[in-house]
């Protein structure tokens, strides 16, 4: 137990790092994913192509590889740097990797949501003379989003768990504390006799973070989902 008490401030920081990764990349994924979904249903063939290629490429690539590529490809080779501080830079690269990856899933969830919107809605909008963007923005997407609150919640929960993979490019806080999977590994390495306890604390941490999100989104889905 001493191990946990002693390392507790570090553990909190580690989890906070995961949560920050999830929040920033979640916003990025939502924006990019919505854009991609709009691309995939748009009347412009090239945009549809971009959406399809993006989704099929990213969705079939392991996240470990995507994040690794962010450091070695995007940063070292293409010269994209977000900050001169290494820990800051790596953090934002991980955010981009997670965001780009999750966007593909958000796009597919949203596209499924668009398909649940009654055909009459879109036909009514068109008969009023709405353009494609007006139709999507004012009629279709607001209804589609309501229909996919629960799956989007699952996507976000998966994203939070996926932030542990940021360990491959060594995401740390400014003080050099690893995110949770890295910290758990270090703690177990140095306190082998407490392995189960350490694992239980980290497992419980993720249950505590993800459980309310699941409950909240299913409540919101019932509340806002609408009747169809």
């Amino acid at each position: 137990m001493d191990v946990i008490i002693e390392a507790f401030p570090d553990i909190l920081q580690a989890f906070w790092l995961n949560i920050r990764l999830a929040l920033y990349s979640g916003v990025l994924a939502l924006v990019l994913g919505t854009l991609l979904a709009a691309f995939r249903v748009s009347p412009v063939p090239l945009l549809r192509l971009i959406g399809t290629v993006w989704v099929n490429t990213i969705r079939n690539t392991p996240l470990t590889l995507v994040i690794t590529f962010m450091l070695f490809g995007l940063s070292y080779q293409l010269g994209v740097t977000f900050s001169d501080t290494i820990s800051e830079n790596v953090f934002w690269l991980a955010v981009v990797g997670l965001g780009v990856y999750t966007a593909a899933f958000v796009c597919e969830v949203l596209r499924a949501g668009i398909n649940t919107v009654d055909v009459g809605q879109s036909e009514a909008a068109r008969s009023l003379g709405f353009t494609f963007t007006q139709n999507l923005r004012l009629v279709i997407l607001p209804q589609a989003f309501r229909a996919v609150i629960a799956p989007l919640g699952s996507t976000f929960i998966a994203l939070i768990k996926n932030t542990t993979i940021a360990v491959v490019i060594g995401v740390t806080t400014a003080e050099g504390i690893n995110e949770s999977s890295g910290l758990m590994r270090t703690l177990i390495e140095f306190n082998g006799d407490q392995t189960i306890l350490i694992f239980a604390v980290f497992a419980l941490g993720f249950v505590i973070i993800t459980l309310p999100i699941g409950l909240l989104t299913s409540w919101a889905a019932k509340r806002l989902g609408g009747v169809r």
Partner: protein
């Protein structure tokens, strides 16, 4: 959502819309070409010094040589497929067991199964994998077995997800199925084994195969604990040849091909089952969101 233009979201383009789409196409093409040129240009130079262009044929040549394939890529593919295949079989067994347990009429069994499923779904795969990798050594002094750690972690997580898929499949079956079974004197266990499970498994097969794609992809996490799977082997190639970026791109391409093949299999199964009249779509249609939305969340 189909109409003459292929979508109900917009009208069939007239002359003006066609012209506008054409302009957007051209602008998009120019932007893509610019981005492509930027990447090409940046890949051609190394920020740390000259003569290290990523387009240097020397960096790509290893992938055309038999030795690289014999010593790295093929063993890597084998390592990935071996772990994924074993984990897939075990996950199916574990998932079915958990699903049956959760739907058991014996309350304590149902509670335990529910707790197991929720636990393994909530804990990140990587955390589980690192624990299973370190625990045998730290607790029993046994040798660390990365293969087993990868397989078991994949089994627990994906098994728990598959359990929920199967449960959803069983719940979507018409109630008459269970009642008819009970009426002819089958026990609860017999109804589950002989009537409900076979139908649910078949109806949910596309969703289950989609989860197996996730499993195959997640096997790359073995890289982090040092299991000799494809990504690790790609890294080894890069260490020998100093060509990390080409290696990552080649590995990504191999992963994409493997996953597309598996996705193709899933689609083929879905078409086949649809011809027979029972699909995940007809089973899941009580949901507001079609099954595709549910599986899309599985990442």
């Amino acid at each position: 959502m189909k109409s003459a233009s292929g979508s109900v979201l917009y009208d069939v383009p007239g002359p003006r819309a066609r012209a506008r789409n054409m302009v957007l196409n051209v602008i998009g093409a120019v932007l893509i070409a610019a981005a492509g040129w930027y990447v090409y240009d940046k890949f051609a130079q190394d920020p740390k010094g000259p003569q290290t262009s990523q387009w240097d044929p020397e960096k790509w040549k290893p992938f055309l040589e038999g030795d690289t394939w014999d010593n790295f890529l093929l063993p890597g593919i084998e390592g990935t497929l071996k772990a994924a295949a074993l984990a897939a079989v075990l996950a199916m067994a574990f998932g079915t067991l958990c699903a049956v347990g959760r739907m058991s009429t014996i309350r304590p069994v149902a509670w335990i199964a529910a707790a197991v499923i929720e636990f393994f779904r909530a804990v990140p795969l990587l955390i589980m994998m690192i624990f299973l990798w370190l625990a045998p050594t730290k607790l029993f002094g046994a040798d660390a077995n990365v293969f087993l750690a990868v397989v078991l972690a994949l089994m627990f997580y994906n098994g728990a997800v598959i359990a929920e898929v199967i449960r959803a499949g069983v719940q979507a079956l018409p109630r008459g199925q269970r009642e008819a079974g009970a009426a002819i004197g089958l026990t609860n266990a017999q109804v589950m084994r002989l009537i409900l499970l076979p139908q649910a498994l078949r109806a949910m097969l596309p969703a289950i195969v989609a989860q197996l794609v996730v499993l195959l992809k997640d096997s790359a996490l073995g890289y982090i604990i040092g299991y000799a799977e494809l990504l690790r082997q790609g890294n080894n190639i890069a260490t020998n040849n100093g060509n990390l970026v080409p290696a990552l791109l080649v590995i990504a391409a191999i992963f994409i091909v493997m996953n597309l093949a598996l996705t193709g299999l899933a689609n083929w199964i879905e078409r086949r089952t649809r011809r027979r009249g029972r699909t995940a779509a007809t089973v899941g249609h009580a949901d507001v969101v079609p099954p595709a939305a549910g599986t899309g969340a599985a990442l």
